[in-house]
């Protein structure tokens, strides 16, 4: 069976207190990381099923075992790696980042992590959504990450009526269209909304994996996880991933205004993937793996002549 060398990595970024950690905890289905009203001064945290235990990685490249996340000094730390099991981690690695625009935290702290990310979710609070300080970040975002980028407008529950939500999202869409392929309005306190985002992430993971050629080559050497651990069998922790047809995954009109459904595929490869997912959404990691294999066959056949074929990298063992 064709197997990917590694999983796509999703970086969750945004202004401080936008809901990044809330979203990651939600995707994991457990309160793994601390979330706060005031800025949480944590270094970037890279959560993966494939890490070898928990470590703190310094800017100088050294690493040491991680004891307590809360006591890690931001300064001199590149990131903290945490190894854990959760259904979503069968599809992607998650990277939580310290907030942008926090006067006490240097933006380079999170921006460094862009190098090792394959896709980005940007969180923006609905009550003050999409300001110049956010736009400035995206104007400088590497084009590679603008593709497949998702804007999650959080705190949807704070909007008093659907008319406000509609007005807001029309403006946000108007202004952010050049930067994001996907726009989601969600309340991170609502289970169904979290399900919706989780589904979206899994679908994206597939799309990104299928253009994995640049995915792997783009990651600088130092940023790759030093050793890939053996894939342990996933243990269900909390949030089951329901892809596609599950009724629970349908956003409620009131809470979620999915302005983009992920269907406008960018390339032939993405179109193929979308087609596959549409016909038979995978319901487990095993099915997902199988589908990836099927996808690779389809892509191998169809896209052979294309320049750097994704298949080569993805297929290499």
């Amino acid at each position: 069976m064709t197997q990917m060398k590694r999983k796509p990595r999703l970086l969750v970024a945004g202004e401080f207190s936008a809901g990044k950690t809330q979203l990651i905890n939600g995707l994991l289905g457990a309160n793994v990381l601390p979330s706060n009203v005031t800025a949480t001064a944590l270094p970037p945290v890279w959560i993966s099923a494939d890490h070898m235990g928990d470590r703190r990685v310094g800017l100088d490249g050294t690493s040491e075992p991680l004891r307590d996340l809360r006591n890690v000094a931001l300064e001199g730390t590149l990131c903290c790696e945490m190894q854990m099991q959760a259904p979503i981690l069968d599809y992607v690695d998650l990277i939580d980042t310290p907030g942008n625009s926090d006067p006490n935290i240097d933006a380079t702290s999170w921006m460094r992590m862009l190098d090792c990310a394959d896709m980005v979710i940007w969180c923006s609070n609905a009550v003050q959504a999409w300001r110049q300080s956010e736009k400035a970040v995206w104007q400088a975002m590497p084009p590679r990450l603008r593709r497949n980028a998702t804007l999650v407008v959080t705190h949807a529950d704070r909007l008093h009526d659907s008319q406000s939500a509609d007005r807001l999202m029309r403006r946000v869409l108007r202004e952010t269209d050049p930067f994001f392929d996907h726009h989601i309005l969600a309340s991170l306190l609502v289970e169904t909304d979290l399900d919706f985002v989780a589904n979206h992430v899994v679908t994206l993971a597939g799309q990104v994996a299928c253009t994995g050629a640049d995915l792997l080559s783009a990651a600088p050497q130092q940023m790759r996880p030093s050793q890939q651990g053996p894939n342990p069998t996933p243990r269900r922790v909390a949030r089951p991933i329901r892809v596609g047809s599950s009724p629970a995954a349908e956003p409620t009109a009131q809470n979620v205004v999915p302005l983009f459904d992920g269907a406008s595929a960018k390339s032939r490869a993405e179109a193929i993937w979308a087609e596959l997912v549409k016909n038979a959404p995978p319901n487990s990691p095993e099915e997902w793996q199988a589908m990836m294999a099927e996808f690779m066959r389809a892509v191998d056949g169809e896209l052979e002549p294309a320049a750097a074929t994704p298949a080569r990298h993805l297929g290499a063992k």
Binding site: P103, R131, S133
Partner: protein
Amino acid sequence: MERAEHSPTDKTAFQALQAQWDLISQFEAVFKSILEPDVDFVRDSIDRCLEKIAAFEPNVSVIGQVKAGKSTLLNAMLGKPDFLPVDVNPWTSVITGLHFNSRRRPPRTRALFRFFDQYEWDRLIETGGKLGEMANRAGFSQEADEVRRQVLEMREMTQARLGADFQRLLGQSHAFAEFDQNLINSYICYGDPDDLRQGGQDGFYADLTKSADLYIDNPDFPNNLCFRDTPGVNDTFMMREQTTLNAISESRACIVVLSAHQALSTMDMALLRIICAIDAREVVIFVNRMDELGNPTAEEAKLRASITKTLERFGLGAGIEILFGSGYWAQMAQSAAPQNMAPASLSALQHWAEMHQMPMTSPEDIRRAATEASGLHHLLRAVASRIADGPGARMVEELRAEARNIVSMMETVQTIAGESPQDHDVAGIKQRLFRIKETALSRHQQNVQQTREDLENRLRRAQEAFVESALSALSAHVAAYGEAETWEHEPMSLRMSMRSAYLSACKSLDRKAQALLDEAAAAVQDVMDVDLAVVGVDLPDEQIFFPVIRPPSSLSATLSLDLNRAWWQRFWKFGAEARLRKKYADVILAETDPLIAQLLEQHFDPRSREVLEVIEDYLDDRTRYVHAILDQKQGPTKRARDVA
């Protein structure tokens, strides 16, 4: 919809201010009463005081990021939830003055909207162009295009919407004897582009409107107080930010509204640093939207600690009062059914009430708790006392000094009138007084020139030092991290040193003016002692008040661009270090040269004219005084002959 309007502000909030206002009115009455008899020689001084009183309208600007809740807060203060337009998208588009019980209200006018004239409109477009030029110089064509696009799009949309009216409206103003919500909304909010295309009226004139003034008579507010609503900063539409930043330098007090869920971001810090250049005592921070936190009382303590810590870290904070509350709670407290507030806000209020041991059973209980928790009353009281202690106290001091001068001059002249007449070399004395004034004015001229040169040199040195420090920081960075790491250099340090150079130049000019006035006064005294031989009569020697030195607003021109770190961050891409240095030095010079020119021409030159005015007024007062004494001593017959 029926809405019970409960008066939001109990009068005690403005007590401190009201007492001072009463004092100022008394001065006014006294000055007017002196005007009656024939005391020509003090008429000009008195007129000047009366003008000062008439023009006294302290400004409180409400500023903050987009959607912090500024307009909502002002509405709550007014007790009218729909007064200023409010929306979920960036909305307030123009500085809107709410003038309370104003004596300067134009006749039959309650709302006055001024449009840009052709020149200002061109300049606004050009300011956009300037942002664009800056971006271009720095090598960021993408940003330059973006700014140009914004400006052009705005112009096209406005011209298309207004058609032939566009040209006609430039330079005009619209005044209304009455106004309602719809009327205001067509001038002072952006409007939704989709609505506008479909004939919506909100924001119809917004792009063309330069300023809005609304006149409100309300006995709950003191006279002659102005609150100003401003467009939020950190909006993606950057054009208006300059207007808001200018408003800061004209305001005597600022309420900086933060949003509880993101209290004190880098944007807020940049704003505060600019404001604190004015006077920290006149800034109040209001952390709004507390109703959006789960447990507001507990979070308040955390927020306060974190804000205080950050302010201290950046060397701000001493004297800045931090208050907490919610415009939404205030608004609901004024509504007919406060119990109908959004469930999350109600539950937060329940938490708050529990901590403060207030009941929450009946709607009236809820109203009381919401009123208290809104923080509105504390906010108004804090603002009122800051105005009273700041501009109010200074006004009283100035008026008191002027009154003493006038009274003492009048007394002297009257005493002399009772003495026996004497003959004097009138023409000679007048000539001497004239020469004293001439000398003082030409010395001021020299002072101005000298100070200006010193200032320019100091600004150049600051610029050079900044370029040097930036370049060595850059080299150090490249050495440590290589070029593949982002890097930025904080332009605030340059700004601060330029600001302090400017302020110290102004202070030095004031000191020199004070010195030359002391000398001139001594010379006038000499004329009185020797030529007039009025022994024992002194010139009034009350303190001379120079106008308050305002910090230069042009230094704060580019809040967004400063924070647009992307610009500075991308310098590392430029390749070899030597080229990098050259390029970076060029950019800094190009961006800071205009700052120096502006400081000199738009700030220092007007300031020196203000000081000149004080000198002239002072000397004219003394000259008239000596003339009056002279007149009295000449006796009635001589006077009659002079008149003939």
